[in-house]
């Protein structure tokens, strides 16, 4: 063994030669093979892997779309329809990309709710959580700019409404909007830069996802009980236990995805986006894509423009502070009977906001939207901080193994299942 070479355990001579010089095989084995993972995940822990797969699908389909797309106001709409009609399997690639955006948000919303319910944001995983919020913000920007590219009516008017939000900033607002547009209205320069950024940001997301996963592999995963693994009896090696469990989730996810793409590809879109953009004709109701509706509802809940914009951005920025707003020592809401109820109310307020965001800005939707917005913020700023001090949580189990195997098995020193005891230790 020459000095300076990595002490590789790989048997295959070619892989071994590589692994001695660049220990990627050892790294993968450590991070995805033997990586000790809590043994009690439920299927909600699939959604991180699903989000990763979704990102890859979006980048792969997007690259092929970009080969056939023309970012010019005069040609963009027709070039998209050309993809649908004349490019081999262009309709498939575009419908996968289009519905892939919706699937991405479904998956990521569930991933976020899961993190909130099981307290995955609490120490020591604060930075992991905050990187996740950064990914979500980047996703929103990417999705917004992607929706502009087909240059339909909703593309144009959505872009006009959203970029105009920045004009609410005092003093420099108007200048910022002109700077964003590259002109005095949403026009060809806007479309060009949005195309460029829409291609760039997914790779930025990829980078932050890498940091997200790197941080995850320092602290290890949270789990439905919200208590840390205390030893090998509490964990399983990631492979094969969670590779196969994730595979089951991936197939279910692909089935839903395929159903959308092949049988109702336009159901989640707006018909107006099949009308070419026309700056002289404003649609009756300008609505964003469904996944932005809750935030759109919060924006419209305040009669004041600047106030609405601040509240809308604040509704996501407040997630950054979540690890410190939640004062409870207990992570999982399984053991927080009161917080659990308020949390489900919060999810309902989010769904109500989604519904209200798609309705015209008139009564009773405005009032319902204001109510839901008030609860949305009250949960973060009042209920969570106060409840953590007042609530009496249920008794926590001694350990994951104790909860999973029954207290007797562990207390009585009963046999620990082989897979749990032997496999992770051999390789770790």
């Amino acid at each position: 063994m020459a000095i300076g070479l990595h002490d590789s355990q790989v048997k295959n001579p070619v892989l071994r030669w590589i692994d001695q010089r660049l220990p990627v095989v050892t790294m993968m084995q450590k991070e995805y093979g033997t990586f000790p993972t809590p043994r009690n995940f439920n299927y909600f822990w699939n959604f991180g892997a699903l989000a990763m797969i979704n990102l890859v699908i979006m980048i792969a389909t997007g690259i092929f779309l970009a080969m056939n797309y023309t970012p010019h106001t005069a040609y963009a709409f027709d070039s998209v329809e050309r993809i649908m009609r004349d490019v081999n399997f262009g309709w498939l690639i575009r419908y996968v990309h289009m519905n892939g955006a919706s699937m991405f948000f479904i998956v990521v919303y569930i991933h976020i709710y899961r993190g909130m319910y099981y307290g995955s944001y609490k120490a020591p995983r604060e930075l992991l959580w905050m990187l996740g919020v950064v990914i979500f913000l980047l996703m929103m920007a990417t999705a917004f700019m992607g929706y502009v590219l087909p240059w339909g009516q909703m593309s144009f008017w959505g872009a006009t409404v959203i970029t105009n939000l920045f004009s609410a900033i005092p003093l420099v607002g108007e200048s910022i909007v002109v700077w964003l547009w590259g002109g005095f209205s949403v026009d060809n320069p806007t479309l060009n830069r949005f195309f460029s950024l829409h291609y760039l940001l997914p790779f930025v997301i990829f980078g932050v996802v890498f940091l997200h996963v790197a941080a995850l592999h320092i602290t290890g995963s949270n789990n439905p009980l919200g208590i840390e693994p205390k030893g090998p009896q509490d964990t399983l090696p990631f492979h094969p236990y969670y590779t196969i469990k994730d595979s089951v989730g991936i197939v279910a996810y692909l089935a839903l995805f395929a159903f959308l793409v092949f049988f109702m590809p336009n159901a989640l879109g707006h018909p107006d986006n099949y009308i070419q953009a026309n700056p002289l004709v404003t649609p009756a109701h300008i609505v964003p894509e469904w996944y932005f509706l809750p935030f759109y509802a919060i924006l419209r809940a305040v009669p004041d423009k600047l106030g609405g914009v601040l509240l809308m951005f604040g509704s996501i920025l407040v997630w950054f502070a979540l690890p410190w707003l939640d004062t409870s020592k207990v992570r999982s809401m399984r053991f927080r009977p009161v917080a659990r109820i308020f949390f489900f109310l919060w999810v309902i307020s989010f769904l109500v906001l989604t519904y209200v965001g798609g309705k015209p800005a008139e009564q009773p939707y405005i009032f319902i939207g204001q109510l839901a917005t008030a609860y949305y913020f009250a949960w973060f700023l009042v209920i969570l901080p106060v409840l953590g001090k007042l609530e009496k949580p249920l008794p926590l189990p001694e350990s994951i193994a104790a909860a999973v195997l029954g207290t007797k098995a562990v207390l009585g020193g009963g046999p620990i299942p082989q897979a749990a005891a032997a496999k992770p230790m051999e390789k770790a």
Binding site: L92, I244, V248, F262, P271, A284
Partner: protein
């Protein structure tokens, strides 16, 4: 027909109620199109008749610029028929070696010729209104096919007190009820080669079928592929789940 009349009557009652604000229209009745179901296909006869209605009636004002003549091969017309259809249109080509533009009969590869050279000409020829391009029209309206067919049979006399300005027409299903397009379908308007009687409803259904296909020509292929993929995923899912059970069999969790 009686059902349709009943529906139209019901719709007109709804339309007359003041609860319906301007800009709204009654929901289009479900026309039961074969292609609107999950695994549905297009009726080739209806597509061909629909193309005839488009060609002889609609195309006087509405273009379909995203379609090429060769696309008509997909609705069951022979190559000779499609070549003849294309050749009946003159398109502008060029410039030639002398630098001049010239007219020639259209080929399979040419896009459908639009009736007007630009939007301004279209407006000038239509009392200021712009007839929309119909290439993706059923995708561009909510419940597109049902809406379109309802619109085509939805011309009525305006209810008493409803002011219809010159050049506008009252339509049950158009948002706001005032549409610039006049009623263009009358019984016997076209003569179908297959002997189908050209009633207004028949023509409306057929042209809607044609336009729905034109908006999403991949529909049939998409659905066939979707069935195969879902069957594949069902089997794969079963195998994945069985493997998962086996891997986890000796682990309590």
């Amino acid at each position: 027909m009686r059902v349709l009349k009943a529906l139209a009557l019901a719709a007109s009652v709804f339309a007359a109620t003041p609860a319906l604000a301007a800009g709204e229209a009654p929901k289009a009745p479900n026309a039961g199109f074969s292609f609107n179901s999950l695994l549905g296909t297009f009726d080739r006869g209806a597509q061909q008749r629909g193309f005839q209605v488009y060609k002889e009636v609609c195309s006087a004002c509405h273009g379909m610029r995203l379609l090429s003549y060769r696309n008509l091969l997909d609705i069951g017309l022979s190559e000779a028929e499609v070549r003849a259809i294309a050749a009946s249109f003159q398109v502008t080509d060029g410039p030639n070696d002398e630098g001049a533009m010239f007219e020639r009969p259209a080929r399979l590869s040419d896009r459908f010729r639009s009736p007007f050279p630009n939007d301004q000409a279209a407006r000038a020829g239509n009392n200021g209104a712009l007839p929309p391009d119909l290439s993706v029209i059923t995708k561009a309206r909510h419940d597109g096919a049902n809406y379109l067919r309802a619109l085509l049979i939805g011309y009525r006399d305006a209810p008493a007190g409803f002011n219809v300005p010159d050049g506008m027409h009252y339509n049950e299903y158009f948002p706001g009820h005032l549409i610039a397009m006049p009623n263009v379908l009358n019984d016997g308007q076209v003569e179908f080669a297959d002997g189908t009687r050209a009633t207004v409803d028949q023509m409306a259904r057929d042209v809607t079928t044609f336009l729905a296909w034109a908006a999403e020509p991949e529909t049939e292929r998409r659905r066939q592929m979707g069935v195969k993929i879902l069957v594949f995923l069902a089997i794969l899912g079963g195998l994945a789940y069985a493997t998962k059970r086996k891997v986890w069999a000796d682990v309590k969790h």
